[in-house]
Amino acid sequence: MLERVQSERMQSDRTMIDIRDVTRSYGSFKALDNASLAIREGEFFSLLGPSGCGKTTLLRMIAGFDTPTSGSIAVDGQPMDGIPANRRPTNMVFQSYAIFPHLNVEQNVAYGLKRLKLDAGEEKRRVEEALAQVSLTGLGKRRATELSGGQRQRVALARALVMRPKVLLLDEPLSALDKKLREQMQVELRRLQQAVGITFVLVTHDQYEALAMSDRIAVMFGGRIAQVASPKEIYQRPVNRQVADFLGGMNFVKAEIVEENGASLVLDTLGFGRVRTDKPKAFMRNGGAATLGIRPERLRVLWDNASAKFEVAGKVVERHYFGEITHLIVEIPGLEKPLSVTETNDFGADDIPVGAPIRLAYDPEALVAMAD
């Protein structure tokens, strides 16, 4: 709780990166289509989407390696039009890390400082400080070729942070690491960002990475920004099926709109009956049909004679064991697609026989309405 408060204090409402109506076309193909976005000072912001959604293109345009076909980008109030990469207040951690192989760790980190013509003591101090920030103290004399993947990544981070940029851009920085190291680096990156207070912009296709690290996330598809919100809101209140589907599993149930007013919706569904839900902010009605979604972990197995206020009954048709959880596929009479349910194995969900009747409890709060 304490950390949350701190992290929120770090951010201000001041806009650090202002992206306005940016389009990038390659012939008739639009890599980025009229994207607008305001990234706040001190924020850990993620651009999330499948490959080819335009997230890397957008990051490269902020860095100055690519130019918008139309629209404008400003960093810290300064328009970036015509300003080359080497004169922008941004630094980047490359996907390949781009560690200079002919230099050692120290020389890599000091690379950008050389141009600032600091006196030798000051330069050394800043290099040491940057290496300490990424826990590489003592490895300064190592050659780039003698480093592990995780260490290369830290060098790339230190090399960028030592420049004290206004914005640090990270292009899929964890994708080359194995799972364990990746999860450890997620925690470290987040901690580092809070310690230095610099605006971080992360590009990733890994939804868990984005959820775990970000203050806010922009989900992108096909060159367009679909939703910008906090991780919790993106996960719990996705604006459409595409966003919901991309961020973990989601059961989709056909629904019909019975009533719509300013704040809520009443929907009729086959499996869940008549449901009243919050109306999503961006809800745009498209005829009388809508989709109701519920995450697999928000459906709980009801054991023995336990009952709940809201429940659906069905039959287990498949069971998949995943160690700490079990994944059940449950057929509900009236629903055209069976529901996915994930249940922790504490109470023996892994022993539920296939074919057994089952009852599932849910919280109506967990039901999310989406426009079709």
């Binding site: 080497n86 004169r87 980047m92 781009a98 192989p101 002919h102 141009r115 600032l116 960028a160 420049m163």
Partner: protein, 273 residues
């Protein structure tokens, strides 16, 4: 099966030994006879002397030929390396139609009969109204050196991670500074290696030099001229030994540098995928 396995390595290694012997035995005769006191190359050696080596610097025609060879070698290696850099950069960095065809055409002189190339070049030079001189030899040598230069340079440039240059720009360095601090140091070993290889090839090349030179002889041409006199043979052998040694040393350095360059760029390239 086991018998076969045991037999094969033994058979293979004797084959390999014979092969190496066949390749290098003639080469070993050269230094051996160059320290023989007798002028005729015949076993047993009549005595050991460095006399023939001592005589070399006292021959003005040889000194001239050496200077000519150095001049041609240095010019040809610089020219073909510069052209090679441009071609290798284009072929490794960009994707365009005809890239493979162009690469093939550049490499072709490697397999064309040298006599034919020499005669055609002679015809072209004469048609262009150029008088034969060391300059025409340089042009001919550039043609035969470029394929080698290309081979060395492409292996050095291949896999050069473009994000290295972007990282440099990102860290505030200008385009020229990036070239000086990142691009050049990374490809320098390949460039030096190419210079050495081209120099060595030019130094040893005979046929093209023979056709395209006017009155000025390069070292191989000088040697060719000396072979007419039996008494001059030991001197030729001594000179040949020195040339051989120089070529060997230069090529070894070139190969070491080429491998270092390839390792540098490819280490990074591997991760890039």
């Amino acid at each position: 099966m086991t018998a076969m396995r045991r037999f094969l390595p033994g058979w293979l290694s004797s084959y390999a030994t014979l092969y190496i012997l066949f390749l290098y035995l003639p080469v070993i005769f050269l230094p051996i006879f160059s320290i023989n006191t007798a002028a005729t190359p015949k076993f047993p050696l009549s005595g050991i002397t460095l006399h023939w080596y001592e005589d070399l610097p006292k021959t003005p025609a040889l000194i001239d030929a050496t200077w000519n060879s150095l001049l041609v070698g240095i010019s040809a290696s610089i020219l073909s390396t510069v052209l090679g850099i441009l071609a290798a950069r284009s072929i490794t960095r960009y994707r365009y139609p005809g890239r493979r065809a162009i690469n093939g055409l550049i490499m072709a002189p490697l397999v064309l009969p040298e006599v034919i190339v020499a005669i055609s070049m002679l015809l072209v030079m004469l048609q262009l109204g150029l008088s034969l001189s060391l300059f025409t030899v340089v042009l001919g040598h550039v043609l035969v050196c470029i394929p080698y230069s290309m081979t060395v340079l492409t292996s050095g440039f291949e896999g050069f991670d473009r994000s290295l240059e972007e990282a440099s720009a990102d860290l505030g360095e200008s385009a020229f500074g990036t070239f000086r601090r990142v691009t050049l140091p990374m490809v320098a070993p390949a460039i030096i290696s190419s210079l050495l290889v081209c120099f060595t090839i030019s130094l040893d090349e005979f046929i093209i030099a023979f056709f395209l030179t006017g009155t000025e002889a390069t070292l191989p041409i000088y040697i060719w001229g000396q072979l007419r006199f039996a008494a001059k043979l030991p001197g030729v052998l001594a000179l040949g030994t020195l040339l051989l040694l120089a070529s060997f040393v230069l090529m070894t350095i070139a190969e070491i540098l080429r491998r270092r360059a390839a390792r540098r760029t490819q280490n990074e390239g591997g991760l890039h995928a």
